[in-house]
């Protein structure tokens, strides 16, 4: 909805930035901290738009996900079209365009973990958390996502929760692992 309104405001897809920088979700939507971190990234690249992935990472770090408001604010700040920013944001699977829980569980579903039966781990997580891939628990604690090869094939099956990698995971280990996250 918001994206549609923003797109209506835009007369051109990119270039004419004034149309939406004056809108509700201009660059001032970003916090001082976010802007200062983005400025640092911009200083490292030849032109502003080259910092867009870093900008998305920064805003996601502070807000947990990338909302339509964040897309348009980043676009305004980097003098890009909102659709351009969104085309990048939606390309990369670890930029979240929907809200996620406080912790994101990534279950490796690639080939070595397939052979070592990641399916059993997924089934157990589904039962324990009462959610499927792509869903978030009612208390907003966990989001469950499939992920391509975590590069831990000699210790399959593997899962990652936030920054923590768990190897040789068994169904019996899951309760103890999940307890660490609140």
């Amino acid at each position: 909805m918001i994206m549609q309104e923003i797109n209506k405001k835009q007369t051109t897809r990119s270039g004419d930035t004034a149309k939406y920088t004056e809108g509700v979700f201009g660059a001032d939507y970003l916090s001082d901290q976010e802007r200062s971190e983005i400025d640092h990234e911009v200083s490292m690249v030849p032109h502003k738009s080259a910092a867009v992935i870093e900008a998305l990472k920064i805003v996601q770090h502070h807000r947990g996900w990338i909302s339509d408001e964040s897309v348009t604010a980043i676009a305004a700040y980097l003098q890009m079209g909102a659709a351009e920013v969104d085309s990048v944001a939606t390309f990369y699977n670890l930029i979240f365009r929907k809200p996620v829980g406080r912790h994101v569980i990534l279950v490796c579903d690639s080939i070595s973990c397939y052979v070592m039966k990641y399916g059993d781990i997924y089934k157990a997580l589904q039962e324990k958390l009462k959610i499927k891939f792509g869903e978030t628990t009612g208390d907003q604690c966990f989001t469950l996502l499939p992920n391509a090869c975590l590069g831990c094939c000699d210790h399959a099956p593997a899962i990652m929760i936030d920054n923590d990698l768990y190897k040789d995971v068994t169904v019996g280990m899951l309760d103890r692992i999940l307890q660490k996250y609140t």
């Binding site: 690249v45 690639s110 391509a148 090869c149 831990c152 094939c153």
Partner: protein, 428 residues
């Protein structure tokens, strides 16, 4: 047996810091090159050593470098990029080098940058490698503090900046031109070649993208020479290789061994053989995008020529073992699900073809497949094969499919006859 890349890597122990790395000979190759070798001499040495790219393509590294314009008239800055976006399913070798000895990679990068006279370097690291990111940040900082990075390195007049870039997912980022687009803040779609990145790469400037393992070899080649490097191997391809085995073997892992060990040696000696009750049915020798080998191929040498002669590719050298309790149709379906999901959507055969392939395999696995589906799958291995797509993703995806249809055709047929998956560990 010499293991130059991993001699100082002890899994479970923290890697060497700068002081420890230097005490064991670290950065001596850099000092040697900066003091007494011209950039072209370094290029020539690496070319003569026969080092071939360890990311999967197997192209002579020194030769790749030789396409970079040199001299004062060359465009600048030139870029040197370490491809640390390890994401080929079944591959976990660069992780060992990144976490085990980050300074070895940094020294290899400075030497390689010197050889092509690059002024800026990036490590493109995949998002999931959190520990490696932390270690690399610390090591890059140490190198800057010691004057090994930055302006006028060790008083040589050569300058190099180094940045760590962590990705946000997508297999495509490992393709070298897609990686460049990702670094420029764009969608990671591949670029047309020519122009090759060596001439027009990052921001249109000459750029070299090398795999982590490739770069880690450079300090050792500079220190010990081309003849030594050739002597490490027991095959016509030089050097050692990081090999890995995963699947239902007794001791899955990653080992540095002379280039050219056999499939049998890897599985039986290093990986401890198959787990009790399981037999080997097939192996992907070098990651998800390589053709199957079977029990007939156990004596194939794991070097570029040997695996190619057996109808597959060395790829990343990290093999996935398929046991006899795992359904080949389900196995290949898992691979095609990955490739369909990771297709960047840039060109039609890949974007449209891979999801169709995935759906046909799914219907076979669920028991609703027909003989016509198998024919269509066979046809797709041609349609999505080399020459019809922008990059190597779809042709790579077709490799395990075409060889599964060749070696495990009976399994496909049984799914059709029984209207279900005959394996207990089948569809899930």
């Amino acid at each position: 047996m010499e293991r130059p890349l991993t001699q100082f890597i002890h899994p479970g122990c923290p890697p060497f810091d700068l002081r420890e790395y230097e005490m064991t000979g670290g950065y001596s190759a850099l000092k040697k090159a900066l003091a007494g070798m011209t950039p072209l001499e370094v290029q020539k040495l690496v070319q003569d050593s026969g080092l071939k790219g360890r990311g999967g393509a197997g192209f002579n590294t020194g030769m790749k470098w030789s396409f970079v314009p040199m001299g004062d008239a060359a465009p600048h800055p030139k870029y040197l990029i370490a491809n640390a976006d390890e994401m080929e399913p079944g591959t976990f070798k660069d992780r060992l080098l990144l976490e085990g000895n980050p300074h070895q990679l940094i020294e290899g990068m400075i030497l390689s940058a010197y050889a092509i006279q690059a002024g800026v370097s990036y490590i493109f690291l995949r998002w999931a490698y959190k520990k490696a990111a932390q270690l690399l940040r610390k090591s890059i900082h140490e190198a800057y503090t010691a004057g090994l990075l930055g302006k006028n390195i060790l008083g040589s007049g050569f300058s190099l900046e180094m940045h760590l870039h962590t990705g946000v997912g997508r297999y495509m980022c490992g393709e070298e031109t897609a990686l460049l687009n990702a670094l420029e803040g764009k969608r990671a779609t591949p670029r047309a070649k020519p122009p090759f990145p060596q001439v027009s790469g990052l921001y249109g400037k000459p750029t070299i993208v090398n795999n982590v393992e490739t770069l880690c070899n450079i300090p050792h080649i500079v220190n010990n020479g081309a003849a030594w490097f050739k002597g490490l191997s027991n095959s016509e391809d030089s050097g050692t290789k990081l090999y890995g085995v995963s699947g239902k073997v007794n001791t899955p892992g990653c080992w540095e061994l002379p280039m050219g060990v056999t499939v049998r040696e890897l599985i039986e000696e290093h990986a401890g053989g198959m787990q009790n009750g399981y037999q080997l049915k097939g192996v992907l020798p070098g990651g998800a995008s390589t053709d199957f080998l079977t029990a007939e191929h156990l004596d194939v040498k794991m070097d570029f020529g040997g695996v190619q002669a057996a109808g597959s590719r060395l790829g990343t050298g990290t093999m996935v073992v398929m046991d006899d309790a795992t359904c080949p149709v389900g196995f290949v379906h898992n691979l095609q699900h990955f490739f369909a999901q990771e297709s960047c959507g840039w060109c039609t055969p890949c974007r449209e073809g891979l999801p169709w392939v995935e759906k046909m395999l799914m219907s076979l696995e669920e028991g609703s497949g027909t003989a016509e589906d198998v024919e269509l799958l066979q046809m797709h291995t041609q349609l999505l094969g080399p020459g019809n797509t922008f990059c190597a993703l779809a042709p790579g995806a077709m490799e395990p499919l075409q060889s599964a249809l060749k070696y495990f055709r009976e399994d496909f047929d049984r799914h059709i006859q029984l209207h279900r998956c005959p394996y207990e560990n089948g569809h899930h």
